[in-house]
C-alpha cells in the first residue's frame, strides 16, 4: 500500500493505510487526535470539521487519498491556551457554548470563513456555520463570538 503524505497542522505526515479510510478515523485512531469529534459519520453535523487547504470539510467522509500533498488543519493546529487563536479567545469571552461537543468543528468552519472573508456580517457568519449542528442552542453566542474575533483580528 502506498503511503499518503500531507501536512497536518504544518507537520509533514505519512500515513500507511487503506486510501479509502476516512480522515477522521486516521486522526482519532492512528494519530490519537481527539479534537475533531465523531457525530454522525455521514458529513451531516460538522462536529469533525477540519480545514483542507483553505476549505472546511467533514473529516468523517473525507477519504485519505484526497489529501495527498494537501495542508490539513485541525482544532489542535488552530491555537492553544498559551497561544490562542482570536476565535478561541472570543468563544471564551462570549461563553459561547454549553456542552461544547460541536465547538471544535464550529471553530474550524469559522476559521475558514475568516480566512476568506475577514469582515463577515452576521448573515455571512450564519451562512458559514449553517452546515454545523448545535443542539444546546448556543448559536447566537457563537455568531457573536465569531464577529468579535473578526473585529479583534481587524484591529491588530
Amino acid at each position: 500500500m502506498p503511503k499518503i503524505q500531507f501536512r497536518l497542522n504544518g507537520v509533514e505526515t505519512d500515513i500507511d493505510a487503506d486510501p479509502d479510510t476516512s480522515l477522521l478515523s486516521i486522526l482519532r485512531g492512528q494519530l490519537g487526535m481527539t479534537g475533531p469529534h465523531f457525530g454522525c459519520g455521514a458529513g451531516e453535523c460538522g462536529a469533525c470539521n477540519v480545514i483542507v487547504g483553505d476549505r472546511v470539510v467533514t473529516a468523517c467522509d473525507t477519504p485519505l487519498w484526497s489529501l495527498a500533498d494537501k495542508d490539513v488543519t485541525t482544532i489542535e493546529g488552530l491555537g492553544d491556551a498559551q497561544k490562542p487563536h482570536p476565535l478561541q479567545r472570543a468563544f471564551i469571552a462570549e461563553q459561547a457554548l454549553q456542552c461544547g461537543y460541536c465547538v471544535s468543528g464550529i471553530l474550524m468552519s469559522a476559521a475558514a470563513l475568516l480566512m476568506r472573508n475577514p469582515n463577515p456580517t452576521d448573515t455571512d457568519v450564519r451562512a458559514a456555520l449553517d452546515r454545523n449542528l448545535c443542539r444546546c442552542g448556543s448559536h447566537n453566542r457563537m455568531v457573536r463570538a465569531v464577529l468579535r474575533a473578526a473585529a479583534e483580528m481587524h484591529a491588530q
Partner: protein
C-alpha cells in the same frame, strides 16, 4: 419592578444533605491550599459544575481557583439520584452551601481557640483567618487537625445574599477552556490504557428477533478479539475502532432478523393514543364555592409528536472487568441509579460495580447513555480484563434511544354569558415520561431486553405530582379558575420507547393551556396580556409577564407578514417563572425572528449561566416546534439521520433576548427547562396572529399550515 416584592420562603434543610449527612463526603480541605468539592450531580453541558464551585467558594471565603470539582462516582460521591428536572442548584447547591457554612464555622471555632480570641473577631479572606493585632491562621494550616468526617448539624447559617461576593456574578465556566482548546474532557476522547473497541449490532426493526447469524465475514476482519452473542444481543470487540466498525458491518450482512411487532400509524397518533389500554389518574380537582352559570363549553385538542434527544455525540461508555468486579465510565445522569440496574442484569451485589461519571455531549434527558454502559459491560466480559469502549452509531442513537413521549391533550372550558371561564377540564393521553434506570425491580436498559434470558421492556411511568409530575407536568393551571378537573391517561403498552426528555409533559401542556387561553382571550376581544394578568394572583407570575410585555413593547403595531404571541408558565408550578413573546414572520413557512423572554429563577447564582440556559432552551424549543417529529412506518423508526430528523440551523435561529428578574433573596431554582413550554405557546400564538390559523398539532410545518388553511376555508 411593579408590585410588592414576594417574601422569601423559609429555608428548609437541604434534601441532599439529609440523605448524605457526612460533611467530608461533600467537601475536603487540604493543607496545600486546595478545596475539593464533590457533588452528586453531574455536568451535562448546563454549567452546573461552575455554579456549585461558586457557591462553595462564596460560603468558605476562598478564591474560586482553589476549588477542585470532583466528578461523581459510586466510589464515594454523595448519592443525589439523577441530574434532572432543573434541580441541581436547588438540591446540590443548597447542600453544598449548608455544608460549607458549617465547615466555615468549625474552622472559625478552632482558629478562635488557637488564637485565643472570640470567633466574632475573626475574618476569613481566601482561606486565611485573621483577627485583631495581625494574628492569623488558615484553613490550610488547620486542615490536618480538623476532621470533617462528621455529620452536618443544623445551626450554621449560610450567608445572606448581600454577604455573598461570587453568587450573582457571571463567573466564567470552568469547563470551557478544555473544550475550546480541544483538551480531552469528553468520555469519547479519553482512551484507557490497553483499551479495546466494541460495537453492538441492532436491527432497525422494532422488537426484532435474531433468526440467523453468519459470523464468517466478521471473523476475517483484522484485529477481531471476540464476537459476543447472548440471545438477540450481539456485539464485536476489536483491537481498533476501525476494526470494530468493519466487523460490525460484516456481521450486519450475516444477520437475519424478524419481527412480529407493528408500530401504530404515525399520522393517526393523536387519535390512536386515546383508545389504547391506559391507567387513569386524577391529577387535580377543584370545585367552585358557588355554581356559576355555564352558557357554553368549548373543547380543543392539542398534540405533540415523539421527540428525539438528538445529542450531537452518540452515546459512549467504557467498562473493565477484574474478576467479578466491573468498573464503568459513563455520561449517565445518575451513577448510582445506573449501578443499581447493572447489578440487576449482572446478578451481582452493587459493591462489585463502580460507576464513574465522565462528561458527554449535551444531555436533555434519558438518552442512550445508560444503555451503552450495559453494552460496554457485556462486551468487556470477552476482553480478558482489558477495558472496552463502546460507541453507538448515529442511526442507533436516533432510533433505539428513548424518545420524549407523544401526547394528546384535550381541554374543555365552560364559559358564562360574558365569556368568562367558570369550569376547566384538561385530559392527557400518552405513554409515561420516565423509564429511567435504578427505580424499579426490573432494569430499564436496552440490552437487558435482548438477552437470551430477557428482562421485560420497562413501560414508562409518570413521576408523582409532588415531584413535578410527568405527562401531567404543568397541567394544573396557575390561573385562578373557579374549578377544574385534570386527568391523565398513561398507556400501559409502549410500542415506541419513551422516557424523560427535557420538561417531560410540560412542553405539551403549556402549549395547550396557553394556546387555548389565547383563543379565549381573542374571542372576548381582550388583550392576551391583560387576560392573563387578570387571572393570576401570583405576584412573581405577574411580574415576568409585565416585564416581557414592557421589553417587547407589547403589542407592537401590526406589520404585514409579522405576528406576535405570548406564552407563560411557572415550570412544574414550583420552579422558574418564564414569560415569552415571539415575533414570527409567516407565509408558506414560519420563521421565528425574535424571542423576548423574562425569567425569574429566584437567586441567579450565575446570571450569564441562567441566560445561556434560557437562550439554549428557547432555541431548542423553537426547533421542536418548527421541525421535529420522530418518523416511523409500521416496522421501524425511519428518522434515523439528521436528514430524516432535521433540527434548527444557524440560518433559522431567532434572536433571543433574556431579562433575568433580580431576586437575590429567593431560593434559587433551575433554568434549563423553563423556556420550552412558554416558547412553544408563544410561537403558536404568533402564528395565529399573522395567519389567523390555530395550529394545534406540533410541529408547525408547511404541511400543517396547509392542512389548517384547508380546514378553515
Amino acid at each position: 419592578m411593579t408590585g410588592t416584592a414576594p417574601s422569601p420562603s423559609a429555608p428548609k434543610w437541604p434534601v441532599s444533605l439529609a440523605a448524605n449527612p457526612n460533611l467530608s463526603s461533600w467537601i475536603r480541605i487540604s493543607p496545600d491550599g486546595q478545596v475539593t468539592v464533590s457533588p452528586g450531580k453531574v455536568e451535562i453541558g448546563q454549567g452546573i459544575v461552575t455554579a456549585l464551585a461558586q457557591i462553595a467558594a462564596d460560603e468558605l471565603d476562598i478564591d474560586i481557583a482553589r476549588v477542585q470539582m470532583v466528578r461523581a462516582s459510586t466510589a464515594g460521591s454523595p448519592n443525589e439520584g439523577v441530574t434532572s428536572g432543573s434541580l441541581s442548584v436547588q438540591q446540590s447547591g443548597r447542600a453544598i452551601r449548608q455544608a460549607c457554612a458549617e465547615i466555615r464555622q468549625i474552622f472559625l471555632n478552632v482558629a478562635a481557640d488557637r488564637l485565643g480570641v472570640r470567633t466574632e473577631l475573626l475574618d476569613i479572606s481566601d482561606g486565611t483567618i485573621s483577627g485583631p493585632g495581625n494574628i492569623s491562621t488558615s484553613y490550610w494550616e488547620l486542615a490536618s487537625e480538623v476532621s470533617l468526617d462528621r455529620h452536618a448539624t443544623p445551626g450554621a447559617v449560610p450567608k445572606s445574599s448581600a454577604q455573598r461576593t461570587l453568587a450573582g456574578n457571571s463567573v466564567q465556566r470552568l469547563d470551557l477552556p478544555d473544550k475550546i482548546f480541544a483538551r480531552a474532557r469528553f468520555i469519547h476522547d479519553s482512551p484507557l490504557p490497553g483499551m479495546l473497541h466494541g460495537r453492538v449490532l441492532r436491527s432497525e426493526l422494532s422488537g426484532a428477533t435474531l433468526v440467523e447469524l453468519k459470523e464468517d465475514g466478521a471473523r476475517k476482519v483484522a484485529g477481531l478479539v471476540a464476537i459476543v452473542r447472548d440471545g438477540n444481543f450481539v456485539g464485536v470487540v476489536s483491537e481498533t475502532e476501525a476494526g470494530a466498525e468493519a466487523a460490525l458491518g460484516a456481521l450486519r450482512k450475516g444477520a437475519t432478523w424478524s419481527s412480529r411487532e407493528t408500530l401504530p400509524d404515525e399520522d393517526g397518533m393523536a387519535e390512536w393514543l386515546k383508545v389504547q389500554p391506559a391507567e387513569l389518574a386524577v391529577i387535580a380537582s377543584k370545585t367552585a364555592s358557588s355554581t356559576p352559570e355555564k352558557m357554553r363549553t368549548i373543547r380543543r385538542q392539542y398534540a405533540r409528536p415523539y421527540i428525539a434527544h438528538g445529542s450531537i455525540a452518540p452515546s459512549c461508555a467504557m467498562a473493565q472487568w477484574t474478576g467479578d468486579r466491573v468498573r464503568v465510565w459513563t455520561h449517565s445522569q445518575g451513577v448510582y441509579l445506573l449501578r443499581a440496574d447493572l447489578a440487576l442484569v449482572l446478578e451481582l451485589p452493587v459493591e462489585n460495580i463502580t460507576v464513574e461519571h465522565m462528561e458527554g455531549a449535551g444531555c436533555y434527558g434519558h438518552n442512550a447513555a445508560d444503555d451503552v454502559a450495559l453494552d460496554a459491560v457485556l462486551l468487556a466480559r470477552a476482553a480478558g480484563g482489558r477495558p472496552v469502549r463502546v460507541q453507538w452509531s448515529r442511526a442507533d442513537e436516533m432510533s433505539h434511544a428513548p424518545f420524549g413521549a407523544a401526547m394528546t391533550i384535550e381541554i374543555e372550558a365552560d364559559l358564562d354569558a360574558d365569556g368568562e371561564i367558570v369550569g376547566w377540564r384538561h385530559s392527557i393521553w400518552g405513554n409515561g415520561h420516565t423509564a429511567r434506570p435504578g427505580r424499579a425491580d426490573q432494569p430499564a436498559l436496552l440490552a437487558a431486553t435482548e438477552l437470551a434470558r430477557p428482562f421485560p421492556r420497562a413501560i414508562a411511568t409518570n413521576p408523582p405530582q409532588a415531584n413535578g409530575g410527568g405527562a401531567d407536568r404543568n397541567s394544573v393551571p396557575l390561573y385562578d379558575f373557579p374549578s377544574w378537573q385534570i386527568e391523565c391517561h398513561r398507556l400501559t403498552i409502549m410500542p415506541i420507547r419513551t422516557s424523560a426528555l427535557r420538561t417531560l409533559g410540560a412542553q405539551g401542556n403549556v402549549f395547550a393551556i396557553e394556546s387555548f387561553l389565547d383563543e379565549l382571550a381573542t374571542e372576548r376581544g381582550e388583550d392576551p396580556v391583560d387576560f392573563r394578568l387578570r387571572h393570576l394572583s401570583d405576584q412573581r407570575a405577574q411580574d415576568v409577564i409585565r416585564a416581557v410585555a414592557r421589553r417587547a413593547s407589547w403589542k407592537p403595531a401590526q406589520r404585514d407578514g409579522f405576528g406576535y404571541g405570548l406564552g407563560f408558565a411557572r415550570y412544574k408550578n414550583t420552579g422558574a417563572y418564564c414569560a415569552v413573546i415571539a415575533e414570527v414572520e409567516g407565509a408558506e413557512d414560519i420563521s421565528v425572528k425574535r424571542l423576548t423572554i423574562a425569567v425569574d429563577v429566584g437567586e441567579a447564582i450565575n446570571p450569564d449561566g441562567v441566560i445561556n440556559q434560557i437562550e439554549g432552551g428557547a432555541i431548542q424549543a423553537t426547533s421542536w416546534v418548527l421541525k421535529e417529529r420522530v418518523r416511523f412506518d409500521s416496522q421501524r423508526i425511519t428518522s434515523n439521520s439528521w436528514t430524516e430528523y432535521p433540527i434548527l440551523r444557524f440560518n433559522e435561529v431567532p434572536e433571543v433576548q433574556v431579562e433575568v428578574m433580580s431576586r437575590p433573596e429567593m431560593e434559587p431554582v433551575g433554568a434549563g427547562e423553563a423556556a420550552h413550554g412558554p416558547v412553544t405557546a408563544a410561537i403558536a400564538n404568533a402564528v395565529f396572529d399573522v395567519l389567523g390559523l390555530r395550529i394545534r398539532n406540533l410541529p408547525i410545518t408547511r404541511e400543517r399550515l396547509i392542512a389548517a388553511m384547508e380546514l378553515s376555508s
